[in-house]
Symmetry: C3
Amino acid sequence: MKKVLLATAIASLTAIQSHAGTVTTDGQDIVLSTKGGLSAKTTDGNFAFKIGGRAMLDYNSYDGVMNKAGDTTGSDLFFRRARIEMGGKAYDWSYYFSYNLTGGGSIEEVRTTYEGLGQMAHLTFGQQGESFGLEDTGSSKWFTAIEESMPSNAFDTGNSVGVKLHGANNAITYSLGAYKSAIDSNNDMDTAVTGRFVYRPLNDENGLIHLGVGATHRNGVDARYHALLGVRGGESKTANSISAELDNTTGTRDDYNVELAARFGSFHAMAEYFDGQIDPDSGAGKVKANGYYVQAGYVLTGEQRGYKNATGSFDSIKPHGDLGAWEVFARYDNLDVSDSTGAATIAANKANSWTAGVNWYVNPMVKVALNYVDAKTDQPINGEDNGQAVVGRLQVAF
Amino acid sequence: MKKVLLATAIASLTAIQSHAGTVTTDGQDIVLSTKGGLSAKTTDGNFAFKIGGRAMLDYNSYDGVMNKAGDTTGSDLFFRRARIEMGGKAYDWSYYFSYNLTGGGSIEEVRTTYEGLGQMAHLTFGQQGESFGLEDTGSSKWFTAIEESMPSNAFDTGNSVGVKLHGANNAITYSLGAYKSAIDSNNDMDTAVTGRFVYRPLNDENGLIHLGVGATHRNGVDARYHALLGVRGGESKTANSISAELDNTTGTRDDYNVELAARFGSFHAMAEYFDGQIDPDSGAGKVKANGYYVQAGYVLTGEQRGYKNATGSFDSIKPHGDLGAWEVFARYDNLDVSDSTGAATIAANKANSWTAGVNWYVNPMVKVALNYVDAKTDQPINGEDNGQAVVGRLQVAF
Amino acid sequence: MKKVLLATAIASLTAIQSHAGTVTTDGQDIVLSTKGGLSAKTTDGNFAFKIGGRAMLDYNSYDGVMNKAGDTTGSDLFFRRARIEMGGKAYDWSYYFSYNLTGGGSIEEVRTTYEGLGQMAHLTFGQQGESFGLEDTGSSKWFTAIEESMPSNAFDTGNSVGVKLHGANNAITYSLGAYKSAIDSNNDMDTAVTGRFVYRPLNDENGLIHLGVGATHRNGVDARYHALLGVRGGESKTANSISAELDNTTGTRDDYNVELAARFGSFHAMAEYFDGQIDPDSGAGKVKANGYYVQAGYVLTGEQRGYKNATGSFDSIKPHGDLGAWEVFARYDNLDVSDSTGAATIAANKANSWTAGVNWYVNPMVKVALNYVDAKTDQPINGEDNGQAVVGRLQVAF
């Protein structure tokens, strides 16, 4: 009887194989996975490949000071981001490609990391985030609000081509990098140097406390601080900004920031303060800016906001139940460019905004967000000194 | 004896595995497939991923009224389309990315569909076809002729960013969508609303009869109807068009169409009529156009042209034999913009063309097509009122 | 006892499957592989798919005649190339897509090959390399020096849209193709015809000797020969060139070359001579150029430089040991445009350069290169007639 069972078991295995076709490898065992994208990794950890992408379809409706056309309602429906992403590794080297499909196509990131020195000393080469600011260091997929705060926007270093030394353990995360910022009149590179240090006095099942500081020194950059007033539709073609600028001038820019964040269960909060100034390469005057934001959020369905020690930044919320995860949050932003001197052109000396919203993490691939934004400026732009916006997003990330 | 056989069977299984390497997953079972591209789906139907692409290499040789340079032979060899395409799903949500590699890169489609309401009520968000017209709703990979008809070209809505409700069963296909068409002077969105309804009185092993109607209402669009005269090489830089236009004016456009199609065995036929007019946002006059085409095709090797209920459109021909599938077809096009009034600039009041051709579906990935086009206009353009073209295509789709 | 063992064996197989998830196919057996990218092929050889890419991050530091800004040090850090690449096959047809992510995105290659006539007669359609010159026919991933020689640069045909007949066995490699070179004033295609023939009198375990000749005839092309003086950072915006040009004129260009190469164990050497002239389509004068380079390299760690009969070109070095493969090389370049006549604008009649460098093939995915370049011109450009450069590269290819 047992023999018959065994024979049947083997026969059925064979039958399945002949009907369905087998998948084998040319060497090491592979684990394959799809959650909307596709990944493959060898079980010995030597090789890996992953392909995915993201698309964020945004709707903006906004009026008052947010709309360049004056006190009428502006609106837009557009892709805030759409990218194809690939990553992989061979032994101690990993890589990541992220290509923007919007705006005619551009490189978002192309970088490779040497991991052979261990978790405390990774070396990343290529176009990459500089890791300045808590909000900006996190993935755009998992910002709590649809848009970054005004100070994060104004002090954003963007992605740059360079090299970064970085590392992390449970208690600290650090990064120090040098990047190309411009080419000068001798055809020589101008550089930016950016560093960040994060300390976590608490980081276990009881909760998370995150303290961070960062600084960046940048040569040959535009003499301007600039932030949109909460909406992105149409960018500066249709939406107003708070900004201070020494026109057509480059300068040396020095910015620093302080970060504070915490997570206890489903509650999370974060705040950052930024301060900086730009000394023009020629002519008089300075451009100065400072700002801060404070944000708190709560996941109604009990999940916890993710956090990555490796980057010292918040990450995704993975829904547990069939109805997804639901999160509410509020944020207050403040940005001030009023200390700028000389011939600086200023649109609004000071601005602040309130943002409140709800996020629905439908499944691991889909997120829906709805935000309300109320922004004020200290002086009218085109006759308006306050404005409101409703912003919606449908995000697919795989 | 049996025990030895069993032991041998197991030993040989083990031997194969140790030589070749196994492929497993981190969770649900996966079915992998390659037919030139690559796809993976979990057997529980919850997750899927697919990557592929298409390239169409076209040769055009054309003279007479088709050539802007007058009665000489123009020619071009170019990529009509080259795209990378990715799709996938997670639970009730699917997505599709299609990126144009030609012309410096652009988004062809980035869309996500909520399928949780069943086949009769899908909701698709993002950049997508509007589903106006039978020919235009089908995939460009499986047009019978190399180029769409002149009226399909003139009334093509293109792909737009918006939301579409759509559904289908064996008898009907419908779609209704709202899309961004432009941004007005208040920075507010102009919209287009497009609907289509298809009824199939016959749709079984005896044959297919397809009846359809569609309409689109579009604000803030260019006050122009325009169709190339059969060739695409060099586009409007080198090839003439039939067109009527109120220069530098936008307007409100209202178009409708009627569709009729049938398939009996290897025979298939389709016809469409289009009619529309544009009321300018300022100034006098109207731009009006109407047109139709009639097409019939036959697959000599006995295969049947595919048809998708979900979109109410024709699809691929899958070759059965080693020599591929061979198809012949003929089409008559007519387009008339002569009813346009006011200061409309008109190049050719009326045009018609005959297209005849042969398609060779070499294998599931490769298609070769050769078309002959004979076009006439009611009035000469640059001294010519008729022209002929030979158009060839090599298509790879995976 | 044996029965128990068998039962245990089957039970454990089943257990692994239920924990990890199985991967099967919808038809033929598939072999999957990842070495940083991903490939899948059916075991019957009918279908295949591969996705990968390459990124080359270059640092240039250069002075003297190489720098347009005069005798100061110029520098740049930039992506020399960043591409996503896909390939596959269905029966006798294969395809290859390579898309440049740099410069806003462009097609590097989109081609399909009919392989049904055997190794001696492949037909490749689409945008492809024309196979003119030994160095240029090889992959940019496996050039020995970071940049091609000056004559290879000046006589590079680039990638073109057309059709190429090509084949190879152990002793010979040939190619003959026709390509679109321009569109003339009648909107008719101008063409280029390019051929190459390689003979290998020795090609076995004892060594390799490669003899080759090539020629190209090109209509409607720019009347110019041009080569950068060893560095690419900033291209012609910041770096000087040797060039001769009849301004704003097109012409008919006729170039030929002779190739000589050898490989014995870890030693490899190659040399090419190029000669060409351009007759302008209108006006007097001619643009003429000739040049050569000689290069020798040695792999210190004992590996052999790869060579592909199919293309008649050198290929990658695959490191054997844990420390990777190390290679040293030197090259002498010479380019002369002094025989140009008429109103030709000339920047440097003659130029030569020495390049020496070391390559570290870290693993199958990563290559690091460091080159020193010393270039001289026969007449000063901006007061300088010689210059030096240090060029570094970090390459990821998967």
